[in-house]
């Protein structure tokens, strides 16, 4: 391959149509693994969450986790899939050190859910319907840490460390049908699809959906076909795409990379590629030209799964309000414009605002706090809005204090700062920092008199009826009380003292 150049994005689109296929792996948040009773908690000491079965010891046997099947069916239903009346697990055979049995127990031609769709709303409100090919159950592998060598890959490593805590964690693989006709918006569609899927899975409460921890992983298949062509081009599969933004960048990068090669007369290698977060590029991984033969066959250690229609319907009844419908409802209830709703969604604030409203605040106040001041704080700290150390209930309390007149907006922000700094509940912060509005008139009279005495010219003007001059005295009083006075009340007192 001669060139690593990228073709200009607009140029790509004048010549080619992109075709996408997205595979998303979701780690289920079941307490135990897919085929044994080991815990699934993330981050344990290596090899402490293992047993004969998930280590694949000779003689061990798998037993299906019923909760995982239930989750798979609920995901299938939420994705508008058909649920198989009878399906089986299959063995996918290949050798790799982090796979204890050297086969993965998965599903092959008989997935539990198939033929569905998911509506995806883009940033400008356009809705794209993504067809779902299948959702199937499988087990995760262990993790390899390759030590030494340049690339952190198994080839060239001095030695490798293996952690089997993750081996056997239940996974659902959700595969789209090919996504065509999205043109320039292909990268955005890819991101929006994964984002929508993530919200859906979160609403279903079946997974942590933490891309940074690998509980939601996306493989992006991208190919280009020349405008007017009817046959798909050769695809690449980009793995290791660990954030929503990366999904978009990876697809875009692959489009421009592939286009450069095609325009140059070259051809695309069917291969897996790895996304490099730092550079936003992809690099070649395993060649897939000679497609690996996994020698699938039905798993003889397990019996078929035949979910009764009654069970499926019962599970359908447990589906929560879907995120898209919920947003429509919220938009109506809170009287939001499309733009306001999108801001709310993009800020990741929908759930937080809803919870704040549930704690007694008005939608407008709640939205204002989360979208402006708190979003700013999250930005400053480089964390997600939901990761801020303040709860919707605490925000609601601050809003209530303002409404009671106990805090000014400026003081309220200080109280929030205190909560974020770990100083306790809003009321405690008010006490500790002494942020109560000064509402004792006798204290204010003294401050007003002092200000009038120190600025006799101004006092004279006010007494002459030039009421506008009162601003300077109010400012001096506010300064003297460190902003804790109610400016409106101060003004009334100034005018009263001057007999104006």
């Amino acid at each position: 391959m001669s060139t690593a150049e990228l073709l200009d994005y607009d140029e790509v689109l004048t010549r080619f149509d992109p075709v996408l296929g997205l595979e998303v792996h979701v780690e289920l948040s079941t307490h135990t693994k897919m085929f044994c009773g080991c815990p699934t908690v993330f981050g344990g000491e290596p090899n402490t969450q293992v047993c004969p079965t998930c280590l694949g010891l000779p003689g061990s046997l798998p037993v299906v986790n019923e909760i995982a099947v239930e989750s798979a069916i609920r995901i299938g239903l939420a994705l508008n899939c058909e649920i198989a009346e009878w399906c089986r697990f299959a063995r996918k055979n290949y050798f790799y050190p982090d796979m204890p049995k050297n086969f993965q127990t998965s599903q092959y031609d008989e997935p539990i859910a198939f033929n569905g769709w998911l509506d995806v709303t883009l940033d400008d409100g356009e809705v794209v319907r993504v067809a779902i090919e299948r959702a199937h159950m499988e087990e995760d592998t262990g993790k390899s840490l390759h030590v030494g060598g340049a690339t952190g890959r198994i080839h060239g490593a001095e030695h490798s460390l293996l952690d089997y805590n993750r081996a056997g964690v239940p996974l659902i693989e959700i595969v789209t049908k090919t996504i065509e006709g999205t043109g320039a918006r292909a990268p955005e569609v890819a991101r929006a699809y994964v984002a929508t899927l993530r919200d859906l899975l979160k609403a279903l409460d079946v997974s942590d959906v933490r891309m940074d921890q690998g509980s939601l992983r996306c493989d992006a298949n991208v190919s280009l076909m020349p405008k007017g062509a009817t046959e798909f081009g050769t695809r690449t599969e980009t793995k290791n795409v660990n954030s929503l933004r990366s999904v978009e960048r990876a697809v875009r990068h692959e489009m421009t990379r592939q286009a450069a090669i095609l325009v140059d007369g070259g051809s695309i290698l069917q291969e897996t590629r790895h996304f490099e977060e730092a550079s936003g590029t992809t690099r070649a991984g395993r060649r897939k030209e000679t497609s690996e033969d996994y020698r699938y066959f039905p798993e003889p250690d397990l019996v078929p799964i035949a979910p009764s229609r009654e069970w499926v319907e019962k599970l359908r009844g447990t589906l929560p309000e879907m995120p898209a419908e919920r947003r429509k409802r919220i938009q109506a209830e809170w009287s939001l414009t499309d733009l306001e709703l999108r801001d709310l969604i993009n800020a990741g604030a929908v759930d937080l605002v809803a919870a704040t409203v549930a704690a007694g605040s008005s939608p407008a106040e709640a939205r204002s706090w989360w979208v402006s001041y708190l979003s700013q704080q999250a930005n400053n700290r480089g964390v997600e809005l939901s990761e801020l150390d303040i709860t919707p209930a605490q925000v609601a309390r601050v809003i209530a204090l303002v409404a009671e007149g106990a805090l000014t907006n400026k003081l309220a922000r200080e109280v929030v700062d205190g909560v974020l700094a770990g100083e306790g509940e809003p009321d405690e912060v008010v006490d500790k920092r002494g942020l109560k509005v000064v509402s004792d008139d006798s204290a204010l009279y003294a401050a007003v008199d002092e200000a009038l005495a120190s600025q006799p010219d101004v006092a004279g003007k006010i007494r002459e009826g030039k009421v506008a001059a009162a601003g300077a005295i109010v400012g001096a009083v506010m300064k003297a009380t460190k902003g804790q006075a109610d400016a409106k009340r101060v003004r009334e007192l100034v005018l009263e003292r001057c007999g104006a």
Partner: protein, 505 residues
């Protein structure tokens, strides 16, 4: 040889409970016998003297304290095939690949035996990963047939069958994937039972072919086999293919059969399992057994099961296919043998070198066969077709069992062959399982009971009795009736005619 090692399991258990003999004395007698003859027979890969005596002592303490026995086999010694895990002892599966491997958990069968107060003497030799019909494929040397030390004891469970015939143990556990309990039983003049698939847990049974493997009892009498059957069988939530159904009443059936009445029982002789290719002495012993059953009141009919002729080729696609996947885990990464890990080689190279060094020729042959049969483009023609044959065989069984209660055939086409006779001819070796394989493919119950000595070579012949799934008791009833009649007609149990072994001093 002390008399204690000649006793049946049921007698031993009764004497222990009656305090006529202690379980420790019984265990010690068998350990002494092993010490004396196993250098010649080589039935055991591992003998656990200390724990056997401890287990026996616990039984004696129960008896002394007047506690009821843990099971009808409390205090009876047993030889465990080395394919089932037992904590504190190595499990090798007859392979270099697992030399010295100490499993951290007990197989369900092992657990049940221990809970029943059965005294496990040790682990028995076998063809590597249960692949073979002669125990010659063990990486730890051949086991010899006590009837003729130059002959094979059957396989893969030749260690278990030889231990019984050499009076090293009154009970043994085998596993039967294509006949590995029944064929060794047949050629050593002992009883071997493959229970209905799914009735004995496979948890802790190192898999050869998951959809075919089934552990079962080996003994010198039908009643002993039945008693052991009831100890090891039963639903196990750790094995998803375990059937949640009551254990068939095999002990009651064995006792009922021993009354010697088979009136009203319909016995089908399978046309396809006999004739050309069968040793004449085997056929004459088999025919005599059928006549004996008729004399006991059974109605004898001939039944054709044409698809049984396809069983052997189908088996040699399905079993190796599953084996190629089951044995993939032996890769030097986590346990067992590791070859070539000198710091210069990749994990892949170490895997490859280890598998090349650790597996024997027959295991490699079957891994290659199975890998090929599952390959893209060949799957439908091989694995897929074999599964269809499997369905046809089930249908033949269903049709046959709609007409008869049990089916009978010789257990294996010949008596024990000479050590080395078939090692260079895999097809000849595979033919040893011709009659036993159909019941593995269909999953139904089948057993082998001694039916006399072949008149051409004086070696034991086995009668196979096949029953429908979960109707294991039918076979026991017929076998027990036949056993009583044959003993009466031939002047005592066949096993008493096994030659005396030279005893080491």
């Amino acid at each position: 040889m002390t008399e204690l090692t000649r006793l049946d399991a049921a007698d031993i258990a009764a004497k222990v409970q009656a305090r006529e003999v202690s379980a420790v004395e019984v265990a010690q007698a068998h350990l002494d016998r092993i010490e004396a003859v196993d250098r010649t027979v080589h039935a055991f890969l591992h003998v656990d003297t200390e724990r056997a005596l401890q287990a026996a002592k616990a039984v004696d303490e129960d008896v002394a304290a007047g506690r009821p026995p843990a099971s009808p086999l409390a205090g009876v010694p047993l030889a465990l095939k080395d394919v089932l895990t037992m904590q504190g002892a190595p499990t090798t599966c007859g392979s270099k690949m697992l030399e010295g491997w100490q499993p951290p958990y007990d197989a369900t069968v092992t657990q049940r035996l221990l809970a029943a107060g059965v005294v496990i003497l040790g682990k028995t030799n076998m063809d590597e990963f249960a692949m073979g019909s002669s125990t010659e494929n063990s990486a730890y040397g051949v086991t010899r047939n006590p009837w003729d030390l130059d002959r094979i004891p059957g396989g893969s469970g030749g260690g278990s069958s030889a231990a019984l015939a050499a009076f090293e143990a009154p009970l043994a556990i085998g596993t039967d994937t294509g006949g590995s309990i029944r064929q060794p039983g047949s050629v050593t003049g002992t009883v071997g039972v493959k229970p209905t698939y799914g009735t004995v847990s496979r948890y802790g049974l190192v898999a050869f072919s998951s959809s075919l493997d089934q552990a079962g009892p080996c003994a010198r009498t039908v009643l002993d086999a039945a008693l052991l059957h009831e100890v090891i069988a039963g639903h196990d939530p750790l094995d998803s293919t375990s059937i949640d159904a009551p254990v068939p009443p095999v002990v009651a059936a064995a006792r009922e059969g021993a009354t010697g009445d088979l009136a009203g029982v319909r016995v089908g002789v399978v046309t396809e399992l006999g004739g050309d290719g069968y040793q004449p002495g085997v056929l004459s012993a088999f025919n005599a057994a059928v006549e004996q059953l008729r004399a006991l009141g059974a109605e004898i009919v001939e039944v054709s099961c044409p698809s049984f002729l396809l069983a052997l080729p189908a088996y040699y696609l399905i079993a190796p296919s599953e084996a190629s996947s089951n044995l993939a885990r032996f890769d030097a990464m986590r346990y067992g043998l590791r070859v070539g890990d000198d710091g210069t080689r990749s994990a892949e190279e170490v895997m490859s070198l280890t598998r090349a060094a650790g597996f024997g020729a027959e295991v490699k042959r079957r891994i290659m066969l199975g890998t090929y049969a599952l390959s893209a483009g060949y799957y439908d023609a091989y694995y897929g077709s074999a599964q269809k044959v499997r369905t046809l065989i089930m249908r033949d069984f269903d049709a046959a069992f709609s007409k008869v209660d049990v089916l009978v055939s010789p257990t294996t086409p010949t008596t024990a062959f000479r050590i080395g006779e078939r090692t260079d001819d895999p097809m000849a070796m595979y033919r040893a399982d011709l009659c036993t394989i159909p019941s593995n493919l269909a999953g139904n119950a089948a057993l082998s009971v001694p039916c006399g000595l072949s008149d051409d070579d004086g070696l034991p012949v086995g009668l196979q009795i096949m029953s429908p799934a979960l109707q294991d008791h039918r076979g026991y009833r017929v076998a027990a009736a036949y056993e009583v009649a044959r003993n009466a007609a031939q002047g005592g149990p066949l096993i008493t005619r096994v030659p005396e072994l030279e005893v080491a001093h």
